[in-house]
C-alpha cells in the first residue's frame, strides 16, 4: 500500500511539479511587475491547448525534427527516473554522475539537431550559441556533482543523496557550494535570465526559443514539458543540496523531507522569478565571464572536498 502511494506521489510530482515550477516563476514575475498574472496552473492549460492543436512543420524538414523532440523528451523522463531529484522516489536506480551528465548531453544534442533540420538561420545560430554555452557550463555542472562525489566517496548520486551528513562545517560548506553551482549552472542549461531571456521576441537574441522556433502543436507541448521537467530536476538537486547543508534535515521523516524538498524546488522557482525581475540579460560576449564565476564555485567546492579528504 505504501509502495503504491509512493508511486502515485512520484508520478504526480513528475507531472505537476514542472508545471508548478514554471507557473511560480511566471506568477512571481507578474506580481513584481504589479500585474495579477496568470494562475499558477496556467502552464497546464497551455500544454492541453497545444496538444489539441495541429502541427505545422517546415517542408524542408525530414524526420529528424519530430524525432528529436520525442527522444529528448523520453531522455528527460529517463533522467527523472534515474536522478535522485526527489527524496521520496519509490526506487533508487544506480545513477552515475557521468551518466547523468551525458544523458543531459543526449537531450541537448537532439535539440541542436532538431533546430538545424529546418535550414533556418535562426535555429542554426541559436544552436551554435547553445553549443558554445554547453561547452562552458558542462565542466561546471560536472565538477559540482563530482565535488559531492569526492566528498562522499562515490560516483553514484543515489549514495551521495542518501548520505547522513555530520555536524561539521565542511559538510555544510560543500553542500552549499555545490548547490549554488548546480543552481546557477542550471540557469545556463535552462536558458534562463542572465544568459537568455525566455520571454524575448527578437529572434536574433534568443537562444533556446530560437531553437524551437519551428515547433508547434503537440511537438511544442513535448518540448515545453521536457524543458520544465529538466528545470524541476535541476532545482530538485540544488534544493536538496541546500536542505542537506542543515544536519537537522536528516532527522526528519520521509514525508516532511519530501515536503521540504518540494517547497525547496518552488522556493528556487520563486528566487528565479525574483532574479529575472531584478537583473537584465547579459550581453552575449559577457556570458563566458558569468559562467566562469559558476565554474569557480564548482572548483572551490571540489577543491574543498579534496582538501577535506586529505586532512581527514
Amino acid at each position: 500500500m505504501t509502495a503504491l502511494l509512493h508511486w502515485l506521489t512520484f508520478l504526480l510530482s513528475i507531472i505537476l511539479l514542472p508545471v508548478l515550477t514554471l507557473g511560480t516563476i511566471r506568477k512571481t514575475k507578474a506580481r513584481l511587475q504589479n500585474r495579477i498574472g496568470p494562475p499558477i496552473c496556467q502552464p497546464i492549460y497551455d500544454l492541453v491547448k497545444l496538444s489539441r492543436k495541429g502541427e505545422t512543420i517546415s517542408s524542408t524538414m525530414c524526420g529528424v525534427f519530430r524525432l528529436s523532440s520525442l527522444l529528448a523528451f523520453a531522455d528527460i523522463l529517463v533522467l527523472a527516473w534515474l536522478t535522485p531529484w526527489l527524496c521520496f522516489k519509490p526506487w533508487a536506480p544506480h545513477s552515475n554522475i557521468f551518466m547523468v551528465v551525458y544523458l543531459f548531453a543526449f537531450a541537448r544534442m537532439f535539440t541542436l539537431l532538431g533546430s538545424l533540420d529546418s535550414g533556418s538561420a535562426f535555429g542554426a545560430f541559436s544552436a551554435s550559441r547553445e553549443a558554445t554555452l554547453s561547452l562552458l557550463v558542462e565542466p561546471a555542472v560536472l565538477l559540482a556533482l563530482v565535488s559531492l562525489g569526492i566528498f562522499f566517496g562515490s560516483s553514484d548520486l543515489r549514495v551521495i543523496f542518501s548520505h547522513q551528513t555530520n555536524q561539521t562545517f565542511t559538510d555544510s560548506a560543500i553542500w552549499i557550494a555545490a548547490g549554488l553551482a548546480i543552481f546557477f549552472s542550471s540557469l545556463v542549461e535552462l536558458s534562463r535570465m542572465p544568459v537568455d531571456d525566455p520571454t524575448t521576441h527578437l529572434e536574433l537574441t534568443m537562444i533556446h526559443e530560437a531553437m524551437i522556433l519551428e515547433a508547434s502543436g503537440r511537438n511544442l507541448a513535448l518540448i515545453e514539458f521536457a524543458h520544465a521537467l529538466k528545470m524541476s530536476i535541476f532545482f530538485g538537486l540544488a534544493s536538496q543540496c541546500f536542505l542537506r547543508a542543515f544536519p537537522q534535515f536528516n532527522t526528519f521523516n520521509v514525508y516532511s523531507q519530501g515536503g521540504l524538498n518540494i517547497v525547496g524546488i518552488l522556493g528556487l522557482a520563486l528566487f528565479v522569478g525574483l532574479l529575472e525581475s531584478l537583473i537584465v540579460k547579459l550581453q552575449w560576449r559577457k556570458v563566458p565571464e558569468f559562467i566562469a564565476y559558476i565554474l569557480s564555485l564548482s572548483l572551490i567546492a571540489s577543491l574543498a572536498a579534496i582538501g577535506a579528504g586529505v586532512i581527514k
Binding site: 495541429g54 502541427e55 505545422t56 512543420i57 517546415s58 517542408s59 524542408t60 529528424v64 519530430r66 520525442l70 523528451f73 523520453a74 523522463l77 529517463v78 527516473w81 534515474l82 536506480p93 544506480h94 552515475n96 557521468f98 551518466m99 551528465v101 551525458y102 544523458l103 548531453a105 543526449f106 541537448r108 544534442m109 541542436l112 539537431l113 538545424l116 533540420d117 535550414g119 533556418s120 538561420a121 542554426a124 545560430f125 551554435s128 550559441r129 553549443a131 558554445t132 554547453s134 558542462e138 565542466p139 560536472l142 565538477l143 563530482v146 569526492i150 560516483s155 553514484d156 529572434e203 522556433l213 519551428e214 502543436g217 503537440r218 513535448l222 571540489s302 577543491l303 579534496i306 579528504g309
Partner: protein
C-alpha cells in the same frame, strides 16, 4: 604433425596464395571489384571464425629453417590481448570488403585496380602479422610492410598534387617513427640480450631511454600531438575504404604495441609516464579543437581520431602510473578503458569513414560548405552517420560512452585513492578537461551532421545525390549493430577484456560492483519514445509549410548556416590556439545599409606546421643540399671516395 610445422606450412600457404593472387590480379588496371572484395571477405570471415573458435587458447609459433630472416626466426604469438585486436581487425576488414565493391566502382577511373588490391591485401596481412608478432624483429618487418603498404594506398589517386603531398608527409612521418622504434628496440636488445617482448621489462633506470624512444615512435605513428600532422593529410587523401581501416585499426596498432611492450613491461619511470600523459592530454584537446574548424568531412574525422587516440593513450598513461604506485584497481580500470576505447573507436571511426565515403561517392564532394540536405536523399546513410556521431560523442547508451565512462571513473577513483593532493588536483583538472572536450565533440559532430545532412543542399552535386548502394549500406548497418550491442552489453565486454588481459599475462580484474545501467536505459528510452510516439505524436495532424523567414520570404541555401559560421562562436573563444581570423568585407556605394557584395573569409593558421615543422624541414633541406655537393656526377671523384674510404678503414683497422 607438430604445431610448429603446421604454422610453417600455413605461412607457406599464405605466401604462395598471396603471390599467386598478386600474379593474377597485380597487372590488371581494370578489374571487377566484386571478386577481390569477396576474397577479402571470405578470408576475414575465416580469420574471425578461427579467432572465435579457438577462444581462450594461446598459440605460439616460430618459423623453421627455410623461413628465417637472416639468422632470426619469425615468432608469432596469439594470446588474449592479440585476439581482441585481431578480432577488431577482422570485423573491420569484413565490413570494408562488403563496402568496397560499390565504392570502388565510383573511383575506378582514378585507380589502378590491381595495384590497389595488392596493396590493400598486403596492408591487412601485415597488420595481422604486426599484431601477432612476439619479437622485435618480426614486429619491425611487419610494421614496415604495413607502413609502406598504407603509403601506397594513400597515394592511390596519385595524379593529384595534394595527394602526392599527403603521401610524402605520411612517408616522412612513418620513416621517423620507424627510426625511433628501431633505436629503442636495438637499445633494449643490447640491455636484455633478447628480441622477445616477453623478456623486456622497463623497471630499471637503464631501460628508460629506450622506453622513451619506443613511446615516441608509437606516438608518431598513432598521431599524438605534436606528431599528428600527417594524420589530417593522409586520411582524407586515401580512399574511404582505406582511411576506414587506417583510422579504425592502423593507429590502434600503436596502442596495442604500447600496451604490449610498455604496460606488460611494467614501465615505472615517472618522467616518461608524465610525458605520455601530457602529450595525450594536449592531443585530446587539440584534436577536437581543430576538428571544430574543419570543413572537409574526412579531415574533421581525422582530427577527431587524434582526440580519441589521445584519450586511449591517456588511459594507458594513467594505468602505468597507477601500477607504478601500486593502486591496482585504478590501473585495471584504466587499462580496460584503453582497450575498450580502442575497440569502440575502431568500430566507430570505421563506420564514420565509410559513411563519409558514401557521401563522397554520391555527392562528389566532402566539403561541408557544399553539402547539406542529404537527409532526404540518403536517409540510411544519414541514420548510420548519426548513430556513429552520437556514439563517438559518448552519448549513453551507445558504446562510446561505456569506455569514456571507464576513463572518467578511473580518474575519479584516482581522486579518491591517490595519496597526495597534487595528484588529486590533477585528476580533477583532467575530469574538467574531459567534460569540456566532450562538449566540444558534441559541437563538432552536430556541425558535421547538421550542416552536412540537414537543411537544404548547398550545391548542385549535393542536390543530385542518391542513396548509396546495398553493399555500402550493409557494411555500415553491421557496424552500427555492433556499436549498439557492445554499448548495451558494456558490462560483458569489460569482463571479456579483463579476462583476455589476464590470460595474456597481465593480472587485471574488473571490480566495478554495480555497473552502468546502459542496457536498462536503452530499453527504457526506446520503450518510452515508442509509446509516446504511438499515443501522442502519431495521431497529430501535420501540415507542411515554409520555414519561418520573418515574412521576408526568399530563403535560399545561402541563407542557411555555413560550416564556418556554426563554429564561429566557439572558435572565437579559442582564438589564441587556432590563430582564428574572421574578416568580412562589404562593398558597394552604400556599404552600410545595402552592400552589393559581402565577402567573409575565415582563416586558421596551424602554428605547429608553420613555426616548427616548416623551419625544421627547411633546415634539413639546407643540410641535405650541403651533403649533395659530394655528388658531383664524375666517376673519378666517386672512385676517389671509394679509395679514400678503403684507406681510412685500413688505417683504422691497423690502429685499433
Amino acid at each position: 604433425m607438430q604445431i610448429q610445422d603446421m604454422a610453417t606450412f600455413e605461412m607457406l600457404a599464405v605466401l604462395l596464395g598471396f603471390l599467386s593472387l598478386a600474379l593474377f590480379f597485380g597487372h590488371r588496371k581494370h578489374l571487377k571489384p566484386a571478386i577481390p572484395a569477396a576474397l577479402t571477405f571470405l578470408a576475414s570471415l575465416a580469420a574471425m571464425a578461427w579467432l572465435i573458435l579457438t577462444w581462450g587458447h594461446n598459440f605460439h609459433w616460430q618459423t623453421q629453417a627455410p623461413f628465417l630472416l637472416g639468422v632470426f626466426p619469425l615468432t608469432f604469438e596469439v594470446d588474449g590481448l592479440t585476439r581482441l585486436f585481431l578480432l577488431l581487425l577482422s570485423t573491420l576488414t569484413c565490413a570494408v570488403s562488403v563496402f568496397s565493391p560499390s565504392y570502388i566502382s565510383h573511383i575506378a577511373a582514378k585507380t589502378h585496380a590491381g595495384q590497389y588490391w595488392i596493396c590493400f591485401w598486403l596492408f591487412i596481412v601485415s597488420m595481422y602479422a604486426v599484431v601477432s608478432s612476439a619479437d622485435a624483429i618480426t614486429f619491425l618487418v611487419a610494421w614496415e610492410l604495413m607502413s609502406l603498404a598504407s603509403i601506397a594506398l594513400v597515394a592511390t589517386d596519385h595524379s593529384h598534387q595534394s595527394v602526392q603531398k599527403s603521401a610524402f608527409i605520411y612517408l616522412g612521418a612513418t620513416r621517423v617513427a620507424s627510426a625511433f622504434l628501431a633505436g629503442g628496440f636495438l637499445w633494449m636488445h643490447s640491455i636484455t640480450g633478447s628480441w622477445t617482448f616477453h623478456d623486456w621489462t622497463f623497471c630499471i633506470e637503464s631501460t628508460y631511454i629506450p622506453a622513451f624512444l619506443i613511446l615516441i615512435g608509437f606516438c608518431i605513428k598513432s598521431g599524438i600531438w605534436p606528431f599528428h600532422i600527417w594524420l589530417p593529410y593522409a586520411h582524407p587523401s586515401a580512399p574511404a575504404s582505406v582511411s576506414a581501416i587506417m583510422s579504425g585499426f592502423m593507429i590502434k596498432v600503436s596502442v596495442y604495441a604500447l600496451i604490449r611492450i610498455l604496460v606488460f613491461g611494467a614501465l615505472n619511470s615517472l618522467w616518461i609516464i608524465a610525458i605520455a600523459f601530457a602529450l595525450s592530454v594536449i592531443s585530446t584537446f587539440w584534436g577536437v579543437l581543430f576538428a571544430l574548424v574543419q570543413n572537409d568531412l574526412k579531415k574533421l574525422l581525422a582530427y577527431s581520431s587524434i582526440e580519441n587516440i589521445g584519450l586511449v593513450v591517456m588511459a594507458i598513461a594513467l594505468s602505468l602510473y597507477a601500477r607504478a604506485h601500486s593502486l591496482p584497481t585504478i590501473a585495471d580500470l584504466a587499462i580496460i578503458a584503453a582497450v575498450f576505447h580502442s575497440w569502440n573507436h575502431g568500430l566507430l571511426k570505421c563506420l564514420l569513414f565509410l559513411s563519409a565515403g558514401a557521401v563522397d561517392a554520391q555527392a562528389h564532394t566532402r566539403d561541408l560548405r557544399s553539402l547539406g540536405g542529404l537527409a532526404k536523399r540518403m536517409p540510411w546513410t544519414m541514420a548510420f552517420f548519426f548513430t556513429g556521431s552520437f556514439a563517438i560523442c559518448s552519448i549513453p547508451p551507445l558504446n562510446g560512452f561505456s569506455s569514456k565512462w571507464l576513463l572518467y571513473e578511473s580518474f575519479f577513483q584516482n581522486i579518491l585513492l591517490s595519496p597526495t593532493a597534487i595528484e588529486k588536483g590533477l585528476s580533477l583538472a583532467v575530469i574538467c578537461l574531459l567534460s569540456a572536450v566532450g562538449a566540444l565533440a558534441i559541437a563538432v559532430f552536430v556541425k558535421a551532421m547538421g550542416v552536412g545532412f540537414l537543411g537544404v543542399a548547398r550545391s548542385k552535386s549535393a542536390q543530385r545525390a542518391q542513396e548509396a548502394g546495398v553493399g555500402i549500406l550493409v557494411a555500415q548497418a553491421a557496424l552500427v549493430i555492433l556499436c549498439v550491442a557492445s554499448g548495451a552489453n558494456s558490462e560483458f565486454v569489460c569482463r571479456l577484456i579483463a579476462q583476455s588481459l589476464t590470460s595474456s599475462g597481465l593480472k587485471v580484474s574488473y571490480t566495478i560492483s554495480n555497473g552502468l545501467p546502459t542496457g536498462t536505459v536503452a530499453i527504457l528510452l526506446s520503450m518510452l519514445a515508442a509509446s509516446i510516439y504511438m499515443i501522442f505524436l502519431k495521431t497529430s495532424k501535420v501540415t507542411k509549410y515554409r520555414t519561418w523567414d520573418c515574412g521576408f520570404g526568399s530563403l535560399t541555401e545561402k541563407t542557411q548556416v555555413s560550416a564556418d559560421s556554426f563554429a564561429q562562436p566557439l572558435a572565437r573563444i579559442f582564438r589564441p590556439f587556432l590563430r582564428y581570423q574572421n574578416s568580412a568585407k562589404f562593398e558597394g556605394a552604400d556599404r552600410r545599409h545595402f552592400p552589393e557584395e559581402v565577402t567573409v573569409e575565415t582563416q586558421i593558421i596551424s602554428i605547429l606546421e608553420n613555426r616548427v615543422y616548416l623551419p625544421a624541414l627547411a633546415l634539413f633541406g639546407g643540410l641535405a643540399k650541403l651533403l649533395s655537393r659530394l655528388q658531383a656526377g664524375s666517376i673519378h671523384l666517386y672512385l676517389l671516395y671509394v679509395c679514400a674510404t678503403l684507406c681510412l678503414l685500413l688505417i683504422l683497422g691497423m690502429t685499433l
